[in-house]
């Protein structure tokens, strides 16, 4: 009976009951303590899972703000630590040798974290630079041909300028938008690039899943695994990038 009540509660909360069933549920809810507890449990669980899995752009914006403010308010470490050192006695004193070794180890660990060869490998392995294929229609190179040449030569800075003009002239051109977005990301204009790619993903062009994969790569480069997974999971079976996305998901 309890299990039926839990399922009934879930169906009620999900708006899955018809009007008569909902009214019956609400009527029982008034005096059935057990049902009330199930509903509370359900709402708590739902809130927690939303907190964990929601793609929360507002939270991302807040984190950016906090990171910027952290630099302003938590910097100047040495001065503050020196100040504390004068009032706080050291709990344990390491021998000079041990301090030297642990210092070296810390530098090594830090170095490894920055260098992070394992991360680089994964990014290198999965971020095959896309090639911009355009059919040349005559002897004279068009702006699109020139942009493609620059992009394929990995001259992203110059490609970005050329693609920006093309994008401005025709913002509905999905191919231009995609390569422009990738160029922006490659030249450290990550936020702008992601905006374009996200918009592209929302549409129905043939570049929809290319955009999702490029988004995933942009996060992989920053070692943001949750976001990388989020975008890889958007690529459905049947899409060109599906196999690669699945392989990467397994490795993450």
């Amino acid at each position: 009976m309890t299990e039926d009540k839990i399922l009934w509660t879930a169906r009620y909360a999900e708006g899955d009951l018809n009007e008569t069933e909902s009214l019956a549920y609400e009527s029982l809810l008034k005096h059935d303590q057990e049902l009330k507890e199930h509903l509370l449990d359900y709402l708590e669980a739902h809130g927690s899972l939303r907190m964990l899995f929601a793609y929360d752009n507002e939270r991302k914006s807040l984190v950016s703000t906090l990171e910027a403010l952290n630099e302003e308010y938590f910097d100047n470490i040495e001065a503050a630590e020196a100040e504390i050192d004068t009032v706080q006695p050291k709990v344990t004193k390491l021998s000079t040798y041990l301090r030297w070794v642990s210092g070296l180890a810390a530098v090594f660990v830090l170095g490894m974290l920055i260098w992070a060869p394992w991360k680089g490998d994964l990014y290198e392995q999965f971020n095959a630079a896309p090639q911009m294929n355009v059919a040349e229609r005559g002897a004279e190179k068009t702006d699109l041909d020139q942009a493609a040449t620059l992009f394929n030569d990995k001259k992203y800075q110059e490609a970005k300028v050329a693609l920006s003009k093309l994008n401005l002239a025709d913002s509905q051109n999905a191919m231009v938008t995609y390569y422009y977005g990738v160029s922006l990301i490659e030249t450290s204009e990550v936020a702008k690039g992601r905006l374009l790619l996200e918009e592209l993903f929302k549409g129905d062009s043939v570049y929809k899943y290319d955009a999702a994969y490029a988004m995933a790569m942009s996060y992989l480069k920053e070692d943001k695994k949750v976001d990388t997974r989020f975008w890889l999971e958007k690529i459905p079976d049947g899409a060109v990038q599906f196999e690669k996305a699945q392989q990467l998901l397994k490795k993450l």
């Binding site: 309890t2 299990e3 839990i6 399922l7 509660t9 879930a10 169906r11 909360a13 999900e14 708006g15 899955d16 199930h38 449990d41 359900y42 708590e44 669980a45 739902h46 809130g47 927690s48 899972l49 939303r50 907190m51 964990l52 899995f53 929601a54 793609y55 929360d56 507002e58 939270r59 914006s61 807040l62 984190v63 703000t65 906090l66 990171e67 403010l69 952290n70 302003e72 308010y73 938590f74 910097d75 100047n76 470490i77 503050a80 630590e81 504390i84 009032v87 706080q88 709990v91 989020f230 999971e233 958007k234 459905p236 079976d237």
Partner: protein, 187 residues
């Protein structure tokens, strides 16, 4: 009786709306105090920044997904949350803090302790829900994970290759399974 929402709820709203000026005000009021506390207790400025940021994001999450209503002043609440977080970190590292527990916080009102306690309990609850989630079958996990992302359910159904009706029915069943797991845990 429902407690009155404190006027400092505006700081919580500032976190929700990313109101940079007001968030900056929070830093001005509290960052220095948290930094001093962490530095005095075997931490460094980076630790302090991490703890401060984590606490603010926890408060944001609590407000957005669990409807947190502040019934006490914001500053002591945030300081208490940060201090508890840092003391927990020290505990994990088996380092004894210089400050003894929360003796130095005796001037803080009961409401503040209560509010910080609720936040801590919610965090524990999140862990329990996640553990229960992990015990579900793969299909249920996939359905719940996708449904919670915030996209239109019609789109989720399309992505998962199922009908909208099936998605809704299955989601109810999966959520019920999850609640049952929690229900058994509490027995």
């Amino acid at each position: 009786m429902t407690k009155k929402v404190h006027e400092d709820q505006r700081y919580v709203t500032a976190l929700l709306t990313n109101d940079v000026a007001l968030v900056n005000e929070i830093y001005k009021k509290c960052a220095g105090k948290v930094k001093s506390f962490v530095l005095f207790n075997n931490g460094n400025a980076d630790d302090a920044a991490d703890i401060f940021q984590e606490a603010l994001v926890d408060i944001y999450n609590q407000a957005k997904y669990k409807d947190l209503q502040l019934t006490c002043p914001f500053e002591p609440f945030l300081l208490l949350v940060c201090k508890r977080k840092w003391l927990n970190e020290l505990k994990k590292k088996s380092v004894s803090p210089v400050t003894k527990g929360e003796d130095d916080l005796l001037h803080i009102g009961e409401d503040t302790f209560e509010q910080a306690e609720v936040l801590a309990q919610q965090q524990e609850q999140n862990v329990l829900f996640l553990q229960a989630f992990e015990k579900l079958g793969e299909r249920c996990k996939e359905i719940i994970r996708w449904s919670m992302k915030g996209e239109a359910q019609e789109k989720v159904a399309e992505t998962l290759g199922v009908t909208y009706g099936y998605l809704r029915k299955k989601k109810s069943e999966c959520m019920a399974s999850l609640v049952k797991l929690i229900d058994r845990k509490n027995d």
